[in-house]
Subunit: 242 residues, 2 copies
């Protein structure tokens, strides 16, 4: 099995291709591939394969995989390799529980700092979302998931707390994985209007309302998932998770 065609090697923009760590670029590229579901959960990412794909040595490939492991996007098994994470329903629940905790706070911080320019930027982003929403096909759906995540990330950026921003980075990435895994197909489209509603409340300076809307939004996302005990796939999972 060859993963090469699944990865877009030019994900990183030229100017971001800094003279610095190539491992960072590789991480980004793999991250995007994973959260777009171009790399399915369980896919093996061997050091040598990743290395030769990006034309670097195992050392730097390894560094990228270590970072992804730290973020929870891949899991490594000793002497076996790294695999794209296959989050369990329990993990999924914890991810959303974390988001329910953090995002209202982010909204509350954002309402204090958001500028008209930010609002305009958000509107652009929401248009993009809508565009993908109206398209059909798996590519558009992936783009929609990504765009939807970007909304939350932009919010975190506006809130101005770099630590929470990093937490959200991780949570959104893992959420994308979870949605791709457990999402029921049709319903994610309702997310867009909820984003709009949150933004409207923010624009009016009504942080209370924005936070409430955000919680409902997260609830809806989670409610759209099918988090029953995993059918079939793994007895290993059944055992390891009790």
């Amino acid at each position: 099995m060859n993963i090469s065609e699944k990865i877009n090697l030019t994900d990183t923009t030229p100017e971001e291709r800094s003279p610095e760590d190539r491992s960072m670029a590789i991480r980004e590229s793999l991250r995007n591939a994973i959260i777009d579901r171009r790399l399915a959960p369980g896919t093996k990412l061997s050091e040598s394969e990743v290395g030769s794909l990006f034309d670097v040595s195992r050392t730097v490939a390894r560094a990228a995989l270590q970072m992804l492991a730290f973020e929870g996007l891949v899991k490594t098994e000793r002497n076996r390799g790294a695999f794209v994470s296959n989050p369990s329903p329990e993990e999924a629940r914890q991810i959303f529980a974390s988001r329910r905790l953090i995002e209202p706070g982010i909204v509350a911080a954002a309402v204090e700092r958001i500028t008209p320019e930010d609002i305009a930027e958000f509107r652009r982003q929401l248009n993009e979302e809508e565009r993908y929403m109206n398209e059909r096909g798996p590519a558009a759906r992936r783009a929609e998931i990504k765009a939807s995540g970007d909304f939350h990330l932009m919010l975190a950026s506006v809130a101005g707390n770099v630590i929470l921003q990093r937490f959200m980075d991780e949570l959104v990435a893992r959420s994308s994985l979870v949605i791709a895994l457990y999402g029921r197909s049709g319903v994610s489209s309702c997310g867009h209007s909820e984003h709009t509603a949150v933004l409207d409340a923010l624009e009016k300076g009504d942080g209370e309302r924005a936070a409430k809307l955000m919680i409902h939004h997260i609830d809806h996302i989670e409610a759209d998932l099918d988090l029953q005990v995993k059918q079939g796939l793994g007895l290993k999972d059944a055992l390891s998770l009790g």
Copy 2:
């Protein structure tokens, strides 16, 4: 300058010295040294030095330093090396803002799951805290900071959300650094009684009250810090921090 005497090479318990990643053990050891302030902020941690200290190659030492960089406990500069983080007051504020967001949620989750055994364990921990509190000297003070952090970590563990647990791990570690840097000496002792109060509320199953107490506790910790613009030290800092 030699950092060897600052690091306790036997920090990790024998059974935790798993046949696995030695870099993990090194990370733990350095982490402890940093949050105890045996390694002062700004201290350089060169790969070869760390490597020879723990008797491993630079490769392994490097992996440990990368993990610490990911956690925000060290900062790496390209082609220069890794340095123990020197968190700015702004960073400190963001750390505590994050904690104010997350910890009430952890308390709320913990109250649902805490067992009598957990309570007993907490009481033991609080006794330990008290012991250090009554001792004098910098060593006792460091131990007190560490014990105080452990209380919050135990709470996160009881809450049962591994993601939040990891976030708290990072936040508590960085808080320790911040407290050591900006803490006014005398006042941290009030923390102990607040921990006790939180635990009492938890034992009674009063999650509301426990969460409120926790927020106040965090407020008090932050209020005890001196987060004014850093006096004197650096024009370099003044520039880089705006």
